[in-house]
């Protein structure tokens, strides 16, 4: 029995994804006078990496030297792949949007002079307010409505279709512009709020021809309690680390660059025992309640007891790769398709290193606004509405319904096979050319399975697309990695431990069956060469 068609709509802008970037994009597009529909796989308010925890923001006071310092140090740390002008844009604008969040009722704490400190947002409150703001702007929200594929014609993208997870009914929204804000891909690694980030958004875009950039910068893992989901590296600044025998192996370092090595050898334990007074403990408890609550529920006093740590893989979410942006309005290389937040490459502001919480959070807000405005302007400038276009579905992988293929797609098997390639520190963190090449070959071997048949069951359909998204994302990551024969930022090869100034470019990947790679120039490359020259 074929699934029933539920909602069919024509609108100006369709936003896919209901995290901060999607919410801001929808709000902005609606504020510009566009009709807007936002579809989220889960629920605008609870979905995504931000909602369950919180997010620190990149905010720097409007003092020219402070900002210039931040921009220059990022340029250097990010391997000269960032763009100063884009960081300035973020710094200039993010405060305006945060003021809005305050006006909407978010209770920012104040300094002793009574000035609001807008540098951190608790996720549940922030995203509840964003939902309210988006609704009040007149956006139609489709919750529990994962998109499965984009619609397109010769003029570019024109909407999307998907299913409602609660009713099983299909939905289709036609729109002259689509904002992709589906997040990064974290490969179901059980990091807080991240299991909705499975890469099918990137796949949908790639199926329409969109290019991705920076996929090789994807070597980021985050510490969490071994049994838990909450990844908060910050608390390590107040922790002592121990090995299995109880020997101290580190103290008070929030980055713990050696954690990966130690975990290869055996279990690592942490205790936040550098917080040695009630005042300090109270301070930390109030800074990150989401970190402490699960430990307390497990009967652990994290300030005194030792608890085991693990590293959860963060994929392209805290990596920096995503859809390539080709203009200030966050357009992609496909007409009508815009990208925001972690679905977009963040190299323009982070370069080759992780955007961590702060850069990525401010980026989500700003890129959401830019993409929302860009999409609205584009959609409203088209001569006819999308309902009149001769659009066809663009999806090709993990979608084969009612086919003759007698093999039903074994989704859990495919997902495990991808995870076996991207989770292990020995493959993905301690990268070597030979190991990554062998891994990529195994990943390529999964592609034929993406043409197995998919049942009518809507959950199987969604999972099949997620599996296809993960296979595609992993292959882009490792294909790009092999094209960067050096170590820079979040990419490192044992064979090429040094940064190579001649590779100060971005790597663009496209295609799914066959992956194409090309280099793109970056504006500040010559500054690196100059500095290197001075060192030499």
């Amino acid at each position: 029995m074929a699934p029933k068609m539920g909602i069919q709509l024509t609108t100006d802008v369709l936003v896919l994804g209901g995290g901060p970037a999607g919410a801001w994009a929808a709000w902005r597009a609606a504020s510009k006078g566009a009709r807007v529909v936002l579809a989220d796989k889960g629920f605008l308010g609870s979905s995504g990496a931000t909602a369950p925890g919180g997010t620190t923001l990149l905010v720097i006071p409007p003092v020219a030297e402070l900002r210039e310092d931040a921009v220059q140090s990022r340029l250097n740390a990010g391997g000269y792949l960032s763009e100063n002008a884009w960081i300035h844009r973020v710094l200039d604008e993010v405060e305006t949007y945060l003021e809005k969040v305050g006006e909407w009722g978010y209770p920012f704490p104040k300094d002793d002079k009574g000035n609001p400190l807008r540098t951190h947002l608790h996720g549940p409150e922030y995203m509840k307010q964003m939902r309210r703001a988006v609704r009040q702007a007149g956006v139609r929200i489709l919750d529990q409505s994962p998109a499965l594929e984009l619609l397109h014609d010769g003029n570019g993208v024109g909407g999307a279709r998907g299913v409602n997870r609660l009713t099983g009914q299909e939905w289709e929204v036609r729109s002259n512009a689509v904002v992709l804000a589906t997040g990064g891909c974290a490969f179901l690694s059980n990091g807080l709020g991240c299991n909705v980030l499975t890469g099918e958004g990137l796949l949908m875009a790639a199926e329409t021809g969109a290019e991705l950039s920076g996929m090789e910068f994807s070597r980021q893992y985050a510490p969490s309690a071994a049994f838990g989901s909450v990844t908060r590296g910050r608390m390590l600044a107040w922790s002592t680390l121990y090995d299995q025998e109880g020997r101290v192996i580190g103290r008070g370092d929030r980055a713990f660059g050696s954690l990966q090595q130690h975990l290869l050898k055996g279990p690592v334990y942490a205790s936040i025992n550098l917080a040695d007074t009630d005042e300090k403990r109270r301070f930390l408890r109030h800074a990150h309640p989401i970190f402490f609550m699960p430990l307390e529920r497990a009967g652990i006093d994290p300030f005194r007891d030792k608890f085991p740590l693990t590293l959860r893989y963060e994929g392209t979410m805290r990596g920096t790769g995503g859809l390539r942006l080709t203009g200030n309005d966050c357009r992609t290389s496909v007409p009508g398709l815009y990208a925001a937040g972690d679905a977009a490459s963040r190299e323009k502001v982070t370069g080759a290193i992780s955007g961590g919480g702060a850069y990525n959070a401010s980026w989500a807000i700003c890129s959401g606004n830019w993409a929302g405005e860009g999409a609205a302007e584009y959609a409203l400038s088209q001569s006819g509405d999308a309902g009149k276009r001769d659009l066809t579905p663009a999806g090709r992988y993990g979608l084969v319904q009612h086919s003759d293929a007698d093999r039903l797609m074994d989704v859990p098997q495919i997902i495990s096979a991808v995870q076996r390639e991207v989770f292990p520190l020995s493959i993905n963190f301690f990268r070597s050319e030979t190991v990554i090449r062998a891994s990529l070959d195994r990943l390529h071997g999964l592609v034929p399975f993406l043409h197995d048949s998919v049942s009518d069951d809507h959950r199987h359909r969604v999972r099949a697309r997620e599996a296809a998204g993960m296979v595609a994302t992993a292959r882009w990551m490792y294909s790009a990695a092999l094209a960067r024969k050096e170590s820079r930022g979040l990419h490192a090869f044992a064979e090429y431990p040094q940064l190579d100034p001649r590779q100060t470019h971005r790597l663009l990947v496209s295609g799914v069956d066959r992956i194409h790679i090309r280099a793109e120039k970056v504006p500040h490359a010559s500054e690196l060469t100059r500095e290197e020259g001075m060192v030499l």
């Binding site: 796989k41 889960g42 629920f43 308010g45 609870s46 979905s47 995504g48 909602a51 369950p52 919180g54 620190t56 978010y106 209770p107 920012f108 704490p109 400190l117 540098t119 951190h120 947002l121 608790h122 549940p124 409150e125 922030y126 919750d143 529990q144 997870r165 609660l166 059980n190 807080l192 709020g193 991240c194 299991n195 909705v196 309690a225 049994f227 838990g228 989901s229 910050r234 600044a237 107040w238 103290r251 008070g252 550098l274 040695d276 300090k280 301070f283 930390l284 109030h286 800074a287 990150h288 309640p289 989401i290 609550m293 699960p294 430990l295 529920r297 497990a298 959950r459």
Partner: protein
């Protein structure tokens, strides 16, 4: 992972069904059921949104554990996350208003014990 729906407390409003980012819950004949526990991502959002504190998410992300509703009630765990966020009716303050994160770096710089 989600471990408990208190049958006594649940009013069948299905807010959690709508809110869960990974589609773990179903309504069956007017009753809420944990239909796909293995898909739970341990994000605690269902607890935060449950208006009657009928849900409990255990802190273990990769495995299911036995829980006793009576013990959880006794320990004040049912609804404790919603209360901490400040979403329980009558809450006087919120987690966001108590936030000390803006001072975190400064506090760490000045207050953390130096290496001996």
């Amino acid at each position: 992972m989600i471990e408990l729906v208190s049958v006594e407390r649940c009013i069948g409003c299905s807010i959690c069904v709508k809110v869960c980012p990974t589609n773990v819950f179903d309504m069956q004949d007017g009753q809420l059921v944990i239909a796909r526990q293995e898909d739970c991502q341990t994000c605690f959002m269902c607890e935060a949104y449950c208006p009657v504190d009928a849900l409990y998410v255990a802190p273990y992300a990769d495995r299911s554990v036995e829980v006793s509703e009576e013990a959880l009630l006794h320990q004040g765990m049912l609804g404790s996350w919603r209360a901490e966020i400040g979403w329980t009716t009558g809450s006087e303050t919120t987690m966001a208003a108590r936030d000390t994160t803006p001072f975190f770096e400064q506090f760490t710089k000045t207050q953390r014990p130096k290496e001996s």
